[in-house]
């Protein structure tokens, strides 16, 4: 549909106001809200993600597009039951205990939101128990951890052990990232995935939440 394609295109150029106006227009024209979200906003972000991966555009353009998407989502929100946006999944993220590096984790959060996930960001220096507590409360599908220090990597293992101990294994998937960790380390501590940058994190988490 032309209008949805225009929403997607406006989003891709980061035109915040245009996305807002077109989203309103779509609602007025009784387009199904779920379609506005999936075929307009999220479709646009998905193109942005691909172009970023190919280096056709850079991070600022991605963030502008994400901002445009939020503008559209704000308008769309009341159209859904209990104001609850359909999401690709709920992801609890944080930098592990003892570690204050949060730049990479923040970027991952921004990209996940942009891709249509609901992100609960616990910040930095997050105790292992807190990940579990919030994942349970929010009914999260994924726990994402970031660590940048050799000394804080082991905290990731503790979280994964707690996931098992609390009987969340299988229900809650785990993903890790940050300069000192690797795919091998993820495997070693029993994490479900490892991602090396924000766009890779989105891809991996998409894979994790996909129902078989």
């Amino acid at each position: 549909m032309d209008l949805l394609r225009r929403i997607s295109e406006a989003l891709q150029t980061g035109s915040i106001e245009k996305v807002a106006t077109l989203t309103k227009q779509a609602i007025e024209e009784k387009v199904v809200p779920r379609d506005i979200l999936d075929k307009g906003l999220i479709a646009g972000m998905s193109v942005i993600g691909d172009r970023y991966k190919k280096h056709e555009i850079f991070l600022p353009e991605v963030l502008l597009a994400a901002k445009a998407m939020y503008a559209g989502m704000d308008i769309l929100k009341p159209m859904f039951l209990k104001d609850e946006m359909p999401t690709l999944g709920r992801v609890v993220i944080g930098t592990v205990q003892g570690d204050i590096h949060d730049i990479g984790k923040n970027l991952v959060g921004i990209m996940l939101r942009g891709a249509g996930f609901r992100v609960i960001d616990l910040g930095k220096d997050v105790p292992p128990e807190r990940f579990i507590e919030v994942a349970k409360k929010e009914n999260a599908e994924v726990i994402g951890m970031s660590a940048l220090l050799t000394t804080t990597m082991p905290a990731m293992k503790k979280v994964i052990e707690l996931v098992k101990k609390e009987g969340l294994n299988g229900k809650v998937k785990t993903i890790i990232g940050g300069a000192p960790v690797s795919a091998e380390y993820a495997q070693h501590i029993g994490a479900d995935a490892y991602a090396y940058d924000s766009i890779n994190a989105v891809d991996c988490i998409r894979g994790l939440v996909q129902k078989p």
Partner: protein
């Protein structure tokens, strides 16, 4: 000689900023500190700043500094200081345009000598590293270059300092990862020096302490600043604004932020103990918006480093920067070009403590092979900044008479006197053979030559002259610390 005596040439100096620009940057940075303030996640420091007249919002942990507080701190900051090796000999004089190199510190990985792939380092790697640094002539201090993974994570920062003090006489550039680690790291230094006073009068180690961009101090790093000041242990402030991401995209805008963050650190240290030696340092970087990385080898990063050093010099404070390193993943041409470009710029700018040799991959990987190559780069640039000076060159006539008569100057007295001081001769890592000889000697690549150099340095190492009593005491303290973390014994080391 009388003509020559007067004829000293200028040291080559690289300068990016006019005094007017520097003054403007400092004024703007001060304005930010007084109007926007700095966030400090440390109750004790908030109280201290409040007591000195700063406006503190406890709930938000935000402090608005005052011009008086800033002036007071800048006034009490020493304009120079020195470092001394484990034996108490002076090694580093951080003043004027003196340049000293130190290996890049705190890497996550080591590039394995054989596989040339990354892995987590262990005790043996660290000992090899310390043995090598002991013998690298152009590297003035050791740094705690990486984190051995075969000890409990709670002692991994102090353990590397322990190994450094045990195996290498050079002073140490280091840092703590937690508040608690400071104590043992201070105790280890006291063992070497004898007591607190001697440690204060002859500093042995510098601690790197990082503000968090933008304009924030975490509990850990700010407490490290305070603890160092209490024992008069020098600190280098490592502000890390990322241009275009966590800082303005322009180099000047980034410098304003760097200045504000660094001055806020100086305030914390100087109010705790006026006169604490500090380095006006940093590891700023331009942010690569294509790869989400913080390139240390980028020309923009290196320009910010040189320029923040100019600001430090203008304030009368010795300087530091993370600049002679590379983001390459192995010892390739990129590693060489980025490291030598950085080292050259740093030396020309007169950065006093230049961190980086050995480092690859965004400060995350140390390579011993690269370290020995970088030692050569450092040697070359140290020669570079000595500049060009006449050395019994005038009058020129007699020398040319001698040349025409003898047909060469190879054994001339003038040559014998000045050969080694005037011309820099790199070690075996740098290839200077003609092709036939190079081929006959194995046709070795740079990597192979560097590997051989690493092996030979490790083999030729001689134990340090630190007393056995001190070594035993260091081991006793470290073992006790290990036991506290549930490690019954330390990994095997043979001193």
């Amino acid at each position: 000689m009388s003509i020559e005596g007067k004829m000293t040439n200028p040291r080559p100096i690289l300068q990016f900023l006019s005094n007017q620009t520097i003054e403007k940057i400092i004024t703007e940075a001060r304005d930010i500190l007084c109007k926007l303030g700095v966030e400090v996640h440390n109750e004790e420091i908030l109280s201290m700043l409040h007591d000195h007249g700063a406006k503190v919002d406890r709930a938000k942990r935000r402090v608005l500094l005052t011009t008086e507080v800033i002036d007071k701190a800048l006034k009490s900051t020493p304009c120079s200081f020195k470092l001394y090796d484990v034996l108490g000999n002076e090694t580093n004089d951080f003043s004027g345009y003196n340049v000293h190199f130190t290996p890049g510190s705190a890497a996550l990985n080591i590039l394995d000598a054989k596989t040339q792939d990354i892995r987590k380092p262990v005790t043996k790697d660290y000992i090899d590293y310390a043995k090598i640094v002991s013998q690298l002539k152009n590297i003035a201090s050791q740094s705690t270059a990486f984190i051995p993974a075969d000890v409990h994570e709670k002692i991994s920062d102090s353990y590397r300092l322990y190994l450094s003090l045990l195996y290498c006489e050079k002073p140490v550039v280091t840092g703590a990862f937690t508040v608690d680690a400071f104590d043992i790291m201070k105790e280890l230094q006291i063992v070497v020096r004898g007591d607190e006073h001697q440690l204060a009068s002859k500093p042995l180690a510098i601690f790197s302490c990082c503000p968090t961009s933008p304009l924030k101090w975490s509990e850990v790093t700010s407490q490290n600043v305070v603890d160092c000041a209490r024992f008069s242990i020098p600190v280098e402030f490592i502000s890390m604004p990322l241009s275009g991401f966590m800082a303005p995209v322009t180099l000047v805008g980034t410098l304003v932020q760097h200045t504000a963050e660094t001055i806020s650190g100086i305030v914390i240290s100087q109010l705790t103990r006026p006169g604490t030696p500090v380095l006006y340092g940093g590891s700023p970087a331009v942010f690569d918006v294509r790869y989400e990385t913080t390139p240390m080898g980028a020309i923009g990063t290196q320009m910010i480093d040189c320029a923040h050093n100019e600001i430090g010099k203008y304030l009368g404070i010795p300087t530091q920067a993370y600049i002679s390193l590379s983001d390459a993943k192995m010892l390739d041409a990129q590693a060489g070009l980025e490291s030598s470009m950085g080292a050259t710029l740093a030396a020309l700018a007169g950065i006093n403590n230049v961190s980086g040799p050995g480092m690859l991959d965004f400060e995350s990987c140390q390579s011993l092979e690269k370290l020995v190559l970088d030692n050569e780069i450092c040697g070359m640039v140290l020669r570079l900044v000595k500049g060009i000076e006449p050395k019994e060159d005038f009058p020129a006539l007699p020398r040319f008479e001698e040349l025409l008569k003898e047909q060469h100057l190879l054994i001339s007295e003038h040559t014998q006197k000045y050969l080694k001081a005037e011309l820099y001769f790199p070690g075996r890592v740098i290839d200077r053979a003609n092709r036939a000889r190079w081929q006959e000697e194995g046709g070795l690549t740079l990597l192979r030559r560097a590997q051989q150099e690493v092996e030979s340095l490790v083999e030729n190492y001689k134990p340090t002259r630190l007393s056995d009593t001190a070594k035993v005491e260091l081991t006793r303290l470290m073992s006790r610390e290990a036991r506290r973390c549930g490690m019954p014994s330390l990994p095997e080391t043979t001193v």
